[in-house]
Amino acid sequence: MEGIEVLAAGITMGLSAIGAGIGVGVLGSKFIEGIARQPELAPFLQGRFFLMMGLTDAVPMIGVGLGMYMLFAL
């Protein structure tokens, strides 16, 4: 039973990290692309970039939180 819990927590954290990794990667590449095209928009884009990054980043963080909960508190 202990092993199953560890596995579940690992899958939760790992898969959510993959998803967010791809998401933040796409976001970052587009951000750099946008700045390269129009450097004068950089401050505007930076704010939006961080907002979206926080939104994307939240999902794996919730995954990590739930995973840790499964491991230690359940």
Binding site: F50, G54, D57, A58, I62, V64, G65, M68, Y69, F72
Partner: protein, 302 residues
């Protein structure tokens, strides 16, 4: 858990358990062993205390920054600069997301949400053991049950007093704020658009009027998901951050000196990274609050 030997599990549980006071069949108590008897009337006293305390701190700081006598040629200094910076930052965001809509509630709400959540999140940067242990020792000194049977029965040692500091790692607090925003969204939707077009918005999208039940289910999921994701995002981020702080602290306690030194370095690195998360999550909660309320003010043409 009044164990004499501290294990990894009991240490983590100690940090993740709220000081819960509630109504049991025998009356009001804060005994952690009776949490499951409390039912509905159970309060997380520590979360409530810290959130109210930090809210009061926010109001006091911002009030005291106001200059006593305003004259035209006196330049703002120190605290006033900082407060004006905060207000201008929030104002810029409200302006850019809200645009031309006239509503005097949004900007103060956004400022409150931003600064309050920022302060609550910043409690995460206080060393994980400091305040809980301090609170435990104070509680034991004031009301601990001694050998003579005086004091409160369940405080048998400083360790048996639970105290969780960061309010935003308590889902009750984050979901409470998220649902407050949700209720405001519904209120302004009905007030600005009228009940009829609010219902139309929920039922006539995306497939038109012949598939109203399907539309309603789809839109309802979308509608309910907003406050839940808003609250859980903040909770998840801070909870995971707190958890990692606790795990790093465990490295210091239960391992050899080299691992402890590594843990010290990791603590610093994670704290520095966590400053970003702390500010970013407060900003995101504020930005989404503004965005949801702006959505409530949009009148769509069908």
């Amino acid at each position: 858990m009044a164990k004499d030997v501290m294990t990894t599990e009991s240490y983590i549980n100690h940090h993740l358990t709220n000081l819960t006071c509630g109504k049991t069949p025998e009356g009001w108590t804060c005994d952690p062993y009776k949490v499951d008897q409390m039912g509905f009337w159970a309060f997380h006293v520590d979360s409530l205390f810290w959130s109210v305390f930090l809210g009061a701190l926010f109001i006091l700081i911002f009030k005291s920054a106001m200059p006593k006598n305003i004259s035209a040629n006196s330049a703002p200094t120190g605290m006033q600069n900082f407060v004006e910076m905060c207000i201008e930052f929030v104002e810029d965001n409200v302006q850019s997301l809200f645009g031309s809509v006239k509503n005097t509630l949004i900007a103060p709400l956004a400022l409150t949400v931003f600064v309050w959540i920022l302060l609550m999140n910043l409690m995460d940067l206080v060393p994980v053991d400091f305040l809980p242990v301090l609170a435990g020792h104070i509680a034991y000194a004031v009301a601990g049950s001694g050998a003579d049977g005086s004091g409160v029965a369940w405080i048998t040692s400083p360790d048996s007093f639970y105290f969780k500091v960061v309010p935003t790692t308590d889902p009750n607090i984050t979901l409470g704020m998220a649902f407050a925003v949700f209720i405001l969204t519904i209120y302004y939707s009905i007030k600005v658009k009228g009940l009829k077009s609010f219902i139309a918005e929920l039922t006539l999208h995306p497939f038109g009027k012949y598939l109203i039940p399907v539309n309603f289910v789809l839109e309802m999921v979308n509608f309910i998901a907003k406050p839940i994701s808003l609250g859980l995002r903040l909770f998840g981020n801070l909870y995971a951050g707190e958890m990692i702080f606790i795990l790093i602290a465990l490295m210091l306690f239960f391992s050899s000196i080299p691992v402890g030194m590594l843990g010290f370095g990791l603590h610093l690195v994670w704290a520095l990274f966590h400053i970003l998360i702390v500010a970013l999550q407060a900003f995101i909660f504020m930005a989404l609050t503004i965005a949801y309320l702006a959505m409530a003010h949009e009148t769509e043409e069908h």
